[in-house]
């Protein structure tokens, strides 16, 4: 699995499509998947594990969302924390992690 991260609107999707659309299945906006899973009462970490088992050649794209103020709303607080935790797990499982800024992808793992 290849994990692509970065802030919003950095060109992560174009970067993934340009480099991996022929060889990998691309799952975009993974932070929104996590939000949805939480709304449905599911455990995001377990969902992530299941996803990795279901497919081998995966690109997962996720926004980094953790660099703002702690949200006042309890759900938003938990959501942001979960994106961080699940992101950490995905980084651990990924063969490659690419961080995109201004459209430029930089390998941060390996």
């Amino acid at each position: 699995m290849i994990f692509i991260i970065g802030g919003a609107y950095q060109g992560k999707t174009s970067f993934a499509e340009k480099n991996f659309s022929d060889t990998h299945k691309i799952i975009n906006h993974y932070q929104e998947e996590i939000r949805l899973q939480m709304k449905e009462g599911k455990e995001p970490l377990e969902e992530a594990k299941r996803l990795l088992l279901s497919e081998d050649k995966l690109v997962i794209i996720c926004d980094e969302v953790g660099s703002g103020l702690v949200p006042v709303d309890a759900f938003e607080r938990a959501y942001r924390e979960q994106v961080g935790r699940v992101g950490g797990y995905l980084v651990g499982q990924a063969e490659q992690v690419i961080r995109v800024i201004c459209g430029i992808g930089k390998n941060i793992k390996p």
């Binding site: 970065g6 802030g7 919003a8 609107y9 950095q10 060109g11 174009s14 932070q31 926004d63 980094e64 969302v65 953790g66 660099s67 703002g68 103020l69 949200p71 942001r80 994106v83 800024i101 201004c102 459209g103 430029i104 930089k106």
Partner: protein, 192 residues
Amino acid sequence: MLYLVTGGSGSGKSEYAENLAVRLRERLGSEAGRLYYVATMYSYDKECDERIARHRLMRRDKGFSTIECYCDISRVRAGRKDVLLLECMSNLLANEMYLPEGGIKDRGDKAEEQLEEIVMKPLLELAKQAGELVVVTNEVFSDGVRYDPESEKYRALLGKVNAMLAAQAAAVTEAVFTIPVVHKGEELLCGL
């Protein structure tokens, strides 16, 4: 050539960019033209005035001549050996979107065309004209907050213009708590 400098609030991106512009001019040697600071901040109030004053003080002894340009960057001209520092893209974009004389008024699909027409094309032209052009932009994309549609449009356009500039730039640097992290063109920045 075009250089892009990004970073969060208080990251030291301005100081880094100023010093970069000064050194780029030094590198041009005896043929070097003038050093210009293209100031894009439109002052709405006293706080803006103070910010502008702080930046003026910071660059006071570095030899910049200031050109004020809130909108329509195509009005700026440069000589072939001049070095320009434009600060900053986030203000320029906000002005084009929100000042009456701004040129990016569409909030739908046309906004990107306007962005290209009003901002990107003139900037690339300016980069071609000048000896060197340094553009400072802003990192406002990692706080995980979902804003109102208007603010999200602004963020989307800023992200877009940043990526377009980075694609054309010879070097891209992110200031992280004053540390320059180079994302592109490391070899060009060597010795600067």
